[in-house]
C-alpha cells in the first residue's frame, strides 16, 4: 500500500511517539531517539518525519500549554492514530515473519 509506506526513520519516530504516549512532542521525541540510538540528531529531521506522518494520518497532533523555556511558545503533542498503530503492527509482523524464516544455522 503506497500511502501506508513508512520510511526507516519515520518508523523510529512513530515508535517513539507511541512509546512516549501523550508526552510526545518535538524535543522529547528527539531526546528519546538520541538516547536509544546513541547519536545526535537534528530536530528538523524529526519535524519532517512528523509532518509527513501527519499527512499520512499515522499521527495526530494538538497544542499543549505554554512553558517557560520555550520563550512562550506552545508545545505540539503527537499521538499515534489507529492507522499508525496498524501500520506499525504490520511492519513488525512482516519483519518477524521473515526473521523467523531464517534457518537455524550457526553463524559462528
Amino acid at each position: 500500500m503506497a500511502q501506508h509506506s513508512l520510511g526507516e526513520f519515520e518508523e523510529l519516530v512513530l515508535l517513539m511517539v507511541a512509546a512516549l504516549h501523550d508526552e510526545a512532542y518535538g524535543v522529547s521525541i528527539l531526546s528519546g531517539l538520541e538516547k536509544e540510538l546513541g547519536k545526535s540528531l537534528n530536530i528538523s529531521a524529526v519535524h519532517v518525519a512528523l509532518k509527513r506522518m501527519e499527512e499520512k494520518d499515522f499521527v495526530k497532533s494538538r497544542f499543549g500549554g505554554i512553558t517557560e523555556d520555550r520563550g512562550g511558545r506552545r508545545k505540539k503533542y503527537y499521538v499515534i492514530t489507529a492507522l499508525g498503530k496498524r501500520v506499525l503492527d504490520e511492519q513488525f509482523a512482516l519483519r518477524s515473519n521473515i526473521y523467523n524464516r531464517i534457518p537455524k544455522i550457526s553463524f559462528g
Binding site: V27, V48, K75
Partner: protein, 879 residues
C-alpha cells in the same frame, strides 16, 4: 547569563516558514537551544542556524502566491470572484444580460463577416491591385455617360498594338456571364458554363493550378477545366492531354485544371475556359467588326513599372485618336469615347452603371446592413448598461462600505469593469458558438459561402478588440456612475437616486426603441415594396412556360420537326422561337425612323426577334391591331410595338403605319408595318419601367419556348418533352428553364435584403424587450412595498398594472414619435433607387410603432401583473 538564539536565522525562519508550523518549530528549536547553550553557546548558535536552514524545504515553505502584496493579481482574482458571485446571486438578471448581449454580438459578428465578404470580393486574385476592366465613357446629348463595358474589337487590337507597354496582359473575354456548353468525353456528357478568354488570363488572375500550367490557353485547341469538372469527368486522375468535345463538334484537349473559383470572385461558376484565339478563328466575323460595334469586354493587368493612374491616362484618348480620320467619324461628326480603367477593387460595389451614372445601390446596401449590425450591438450594450445601473441602488451600500474600508475609486471602477468584462466574455463565447451554429443557414439566406475564419489572426484580433470595446462601452456607465457614490450619504440611508438619476436610463430606452421602430419600419417597407413589385402585371403568362436555349445549329435545322413532334405529344399547346429570353433584353438598337420623328431624336428600342407563334405561346395581350400570322407571308415585314414604345415614339393610331429600320450590324434596311400594339411585357428588372420594345419576325434562332398544356402537371409533361428532344437531337442534353423561376430570380437580391432585415429587426426588438423585461422586473421589485400599501388602501390590480406600465408605454410612445419622421426620411431616400415603387404610406410606420408598443405592453404587463397580484400581507411583512 541568558543567551538568546541568533536573530537573523530566526527572522529568516519566520519569513519563510508556514504559519501553522512556525510556533511548534520555533518552540522546539528554542528548547533544544536552551538545553545546549550551557555547554557551548557558539556551538548551540551554529546548530540553531543549521537547523533553520534545514527547514528551508518544500513542505515547510509557505505559499507566497496569495500574499505577495506587490502584485495586483490577487486583486484581479477577487474582482472576478466577486463578479462571478454577483452573477450567480441574480441569475435571472444575469441571464437576460448575457443572452441579450450574446444575441447582439452574434448579429454583429454575422454582419461583420458579411461586410468583410462583400468588401473582399475578388481578393482571391493575387494581382488584385493591378487588374482593371477597360470601359468607355463619352458625351451624348450634353451628358457624360460612364461605365460602358462593351468595347469594339478594333479598340482591343489598338490597345495591344499601340499601348502595349502600359500593360502586362490584355485579356478579352466573350461575355461576363459566360455561356453554357455541352462538354463530353467518350462516355460522359455534361452541360457546363464557361467562356473564351485571352491567353494571359491564368497568370493575370493567378489561377491555382491542380494540373497543367498557366500556359494552358496557348494551345489553340486547348481547354482548361475546373477541378470539379475534372472530377466529374476523370475522377481523381490527372486529365491533362485527354480529349474532350465541346458541343459535340469541336475537338479539344485538356491543358490544365484550376481550383474552382470561390463565390466572392468575378469568375464564380466558370467551369471551363477556351482560348481567345480559338474564338477568333471559329467566329471569324469578330475580326471584321468595326469601331461602331461594341460587344466585347476586356480586362488588363498594368505593367509593373506603371501605376493605374498612368495607364489610365495613357489610353484615355485611344479611341478618339485611332478613329479621328476614319470615314464614319467624318460622316456623322461624332468624336468617339474616352477609354477608362475600372480597377478591380471597384468591380463588385462600384460598377453598377445605369444611364451612364454610377449606381450607389450596392455600397448603400453594405452600409445599410453594417448600420443594422452596429445598431443591434448598440441595443445590446444599452440593455447591459440599463440593467447594471438599475441595480446600482441595491449595490450602493456595498460601494459605501467598500469606500469606508479604504477602497479607492479606481478599485471600484476596476471591480465594475471586471464584472462587465466577465459578462461580455461569457456572451462572446456564447456568441461564437451561436455564429458557428447559424452560419450555414445564414449563408443560405444571404447567398454566401462564408466560413468562420478561425485561423485568421485578424478575425481574432477584431473579435478581441470588439469584445474589449463592448466591455468598455457596456461597463463604463455603471463603473463610473456607481463608483462616484458618496459613502456617507449612502450609508446614512439618505441616498436617493433622485428625479434625474433615471434620466440617462430613460434616454437609453428611448434610443433603443427609436432604433427598433426604425428597423421594423424599414423591414415593413421593404416587404411592402417587394409585394407591390411581385404583383406587378407582366403582360404575359409565366405559368408552364419553358425555355430551351438552342445550343447547336441542329435546333434550327430541325425546328419544324421539333415543333410538330412536341405538339403531337399533347403536352404542349404551342411552341415558338425567339432571339432572346423572355425575362431579359438581349439587344438594344437604334436606327429607327418614322414619319413625324424629330430628326435629332436618336431612338433606341429593345429588340426581340420572334417567330409568328411567339405571341400565342407566351400569351401577350393586344390593345390594338393583331398578332403575327404564320400564313401571311407579308408579316415578315411586320412589327409589333409595346405601349411604352408607342408613347416613346409619340405615335397616334400606330397600327398600319410604317417604320424604317436601318442597321448595319443586323444587315437590315427596310420598312416595317406596325401590325399591333401589345400591353407592356415586362422583360427586364421588375423594379424598372418597361423599356420601349419592338418585336419582329427576323432571325429568331436562340431560344425555343413552349407552353405546357394547362391542366397537365410538369412532372407528367417533362419526360415526354424530353423524349422528343433526345430522339431528334441526341447529341445535346435536354436542358430547360422555367420562365416563372427565371422571373422570380430577379427578386433574389430584394428577397434576401428583406429576409435579412426582417430577421435583424425581430432580433433588435427581442433584445430591446429583454432589456425592458429586466427593467420592469427591477421596478416591480423595488416598489413591492408601495404596491402592498396601495393594495391595502384599496387599489385594484388594474390600477397597479397601469401604474407600473405607464412609464414604459410613455417612453415607447416618445420613441415612436421620434422614429417615425426619421424612418420616413430614410425610406424615401432608400426607395428612390427603384423606379417602379410604392408610396411610403404613413400606416407602415404607424404600424411599426404599434408593433413596438404592443410588444412593450406584453413584456411589461407580465411583470406588472405579477407584482400586482402579490399578497400585500407577504410583501409588507418581509424586511
Amino acid at each position: 547569563m541568558k543567551t538568546t538564539p541568533p536573530k537573523r536565522p530566526l527572522q529568516f525562519l519566520r519569513w519563510f516558514c508556514r504559519e501553522d508550523y512556525l510556533e511548534e518549530i520555533e518552540g522546539d528549536l528554542m528548547e533544544v537551544f536552551v538545553s545546549e547553550v550551557e555547554d557551548s553557546p557558539s556551538k548551540a548558535k551554529w546548530k540553531f542556524s543549521w537547523s533553520v536552514l534545514k527547514y528551508f524545504r518544500p513542505g515547510f515553505i509557505r505559499s507566497f502566491s496569495n500574499s505577495n502584496q506587490f502584485s495586483p493579481m490577487g486583486m484581479y482574482k477577487s474582482y472576478f470572484k466577486i463578479g462571478w458571485r454577483n452573477l450567480l446571486r441574480e441569475k435571472g438578471n444575469s441571464f437576460l444580460n448575457i443572452i441579450g448581449l450574446a444575441t447582439g454580438m452574434t448579429v454583429a459578428m454575422l454582419i461583420g463577416l458579411w461586410v468583410v465578404d462583400e468588401l473582399s470580393f475578388n481578393r482571391y486574385f493575387k494581382n488584385y491591385d493591378r487588374i482593371a476592366q477597360v470601359t468607355k465613357a463619352g458625351n451624348y446629348e450634353g451628358k457624360y455617360y460612364m461605365g460602358q463595358k462593351y468595347l469594339p474589337f478594333p479598340l482591343i487590337e489598338e490597345l495591344k498594338n499601340t499601348y502595349g507597354q502600359n500593360f502586362k496582359h490584355i485579356v478579352p473575354i466573350s461575355g461576363p456571364e459566360g455561356f453554357d456548353a455541352v462538354l463530353s468525353t467518350e462516355d460522359k456528357m455534361l452541360t457546363r458554363k464557361g467562356m473564351y478568354i485571352g491567353e494571359g488570363a491564368p497568370e493575370m488572375f493567378s489561377w491555382k493550378m491542380k494540373y497543367g500550367s498557366w500556359n494552358g490557353l496557348d494551345e489553340i485547341q486547348g481547354i482548361m477545366i475546373s477541378e470539379s469538372t475534372s472530377q466529374a469527368f476523370f475522377g481523381e486522375s490527372d486529365p491533362v492531354g485527354r480529349a474532350m468535345k465541346v458541343n459535340n463538334h469541336t475537338d479539344v484537349k485538356v491543358t490544365g485544371v484550376f481550383e474552382d473559383f470561390p463565390k466572392n470572385t468575378a469568375f464564380y461558376g466558370m467551369m471551363f475556359f477556351e482560348p481567345w484565339n480559338f474564338y477568333l478563328k471559329y467566329a471569324s466575323y469578330i475580326t471584321r467588326q468595326g469601331w461602331e460595334n461594341n460587344f466585347l469586354m476586356a480586362y488588363v493587368e498594368i505593367a509593373p513599372n506603371v501605376t493605374m493612374q498612368e495607364a489610365g491616362d495613357a489610353i484615355k484618348s485611344a479611341e478618339k485618336k485611332a478613329t479621328q480620320n476614319l470615314d464614319f467619324r467624318k460622316q456623322d461628326g461624332s468624336e468617339g469615347s474616352d477609354v477608362l480603367l475600372l480597377p478591380m477593387a471597384d468591380w463588385h460595389l462600384y460598377s453598377d452603371f445605369r444611364d451612364g451614372e454610377l449606381q450607389k445601390g450596392p455600397i448603400q446596401l453594405v452600409r445599410f446592413i453594417a448600420a443594422i449590425g452596429v445598431f443591434v450591438l448598440l441595443l445590446a450594450c444599452i440593455n447591459f448598461m440599463n440593467l447594471s445601473t438599475a441595480r446600482s441602488e441595491r449595490r450602493a451600500k456595498e460601494v459605501g462600505i467598500r469606500k469606508t474600508m479604504g477602497s479607492f475609486r479606481s478599485h471600484l471602477i476596476g471591480q465594475f469593469f471586471s464584472e462587465s468584462f466577465l459578462v461580455v466574455i461569457l456572451s462572446f463565447l456564447l456568441a461564437l458558438i451561436a455564429v458557428y451554429g447559424v452560419l450555414p443557414s445564414f449563408n443560405q439566406m444571404a447567398g454566401k459561402e462564408i466560413v468562420l475564419p478561425l485561423e485568421n489572426k485578424w478575425f481574432w484580433l477584431s473579435c478581441l478588440s470588439f469584445t474589449f470595446l463592448t466591455g468598455l462601452l457596456a461597463g463604463s456607465y455603471p463603473a463610473l456612475y456607481l463608483s462616484s457614490f458618496k459613502p456617507i450619504s449612502v450609508l446614512k440611508g439618505t441616498f436617493r437616486a433622485g428625479r434625474y438619476a433615471t434620466l440617462p436610463r430613460k434616454t437609453l430606452v428611448v434610443l433603443q426603441f427609436v432604433v427598433s421602430v426604425g428597423l421594423i419600419s424599414c423591414t415593413a417597407a421593404i416587404y411592402h415594396q417587394l409585394m407591390y413589385v411581385k404583383d406587378r402585371p407582366v403582360g404575359y403568362s409565366r405559368e408552364g412556360l419553358i425555355a430551351v436555349r438552342k445550343k447547336s445549329e441542329e435546333f434550327n435545322t430541325k425546328a419544324l420537326a421539333l415543333r410538330e413532334e412536341l405538339k403531337r405529344t399533347g403536352m404542349v399547346t404551342e411552341v415558338a422561337e425567339s432571339g432572346g429570353d423572355v425575362t431579359a433584353t438581349w439587344s438594344h438598337n437604334g436606327g429607327f425612323n418614322w414619319e413625324g420623328k424629330d430628326p435629332n431624336f436618336e431612338a433606341y428600342f429593345a429588340t426581340l426577334n420572334v417567330s409568328p407563334e411567339f405571341g400565342k405561346t407566351v400569351g401577350w395581350e393586344f390593345v390594338d391591331g393583331r398578332d403575327f400570322m404564320a400564313e401571311m407571308a407579308s408579316d415578315s415585314s411586320g412589327i409589333v410595338l409595346n405601349e411604352a414604345a408607342v408613347k416613346y415614339m409619340n405615335l397616334k393610331d400606330p397600327v398600319g403605319k410604317s417604320i424604317r429600320w436601318t442597321n448595319r450590324s443586323w444587315n437590315v434596311d427596310q420598312d416595317f408595318v406596325v401590325l399591333g400594339v401589345i400591353k407592356d411585357m415586362l422583360m427586364n428588372s421588375p423594379f424598372e419601367p418597361v423599356k420601349p420594345a419592338v418585336y419582329i419576325t427576323y432571325g429568331y434562332e436562340r431560344v425555343l419556348l413552349m407552353r405546357i398544356t394547362p391542366g397537365i402537371s410538369t412532372a407528367e409533361a417533362l419526360p415526354k418533352i424530353e423524349k422528343v428532344f433526345t430522339q431528334l437531337i441526341p447529341d445535346i442534353p435536354f436542358d430547360y428553364r422555367f420562365v416563372d423561376q427565371e422571373y422570380n430570380s430577379k427578386f433574389s437580391t430584394e428577397d434576401r435584403i428583406g429576409k435579412l432585415a426582417g430577421v435583424f429587426a425581430v432580433l433588435a426588438v427581442v433584445i430591446s424587450c429583454l432589456g425592458l423585461f429586466g427593467l420592469a422586473s427591477f421596478m416591480a421589485e423595488r416598489r413591492t412595498k408601495e404596491i402592498g400599501i396601495r393594495k391595502v388602501l384599496g387599489a385594484s390590480v388594474l390600477n397597479m398594472w397601469r401604474l407600473l406600465s405607464q412609464e414604459f408605454v410613455l417612453l415607447v410612445l416618445l420613441a415612436s414619435l421620434i422614429a417615425m419622421p426619421l424612418a420616413y426620411l430614410v425610406l424615401e431616400e432608400g426607395l428612390q433607387k427603384y423606379e417602379y415603387r410604392t408610396e411610403i404610406s404613413w400606416w407602415i410606420i404607424v404600424l411599426a410603432g404599434g408593433i413596438a408598443l404592443c410588444v412593450t405592453l406584453l413584456t411589461v404587463s407580465f411583470q406588472a401583473i405579477k407584482a400586482a397580484l402579490i399578497d400585500p400581507v407577504k410583501s409588507l411583512k418581509s424586511e
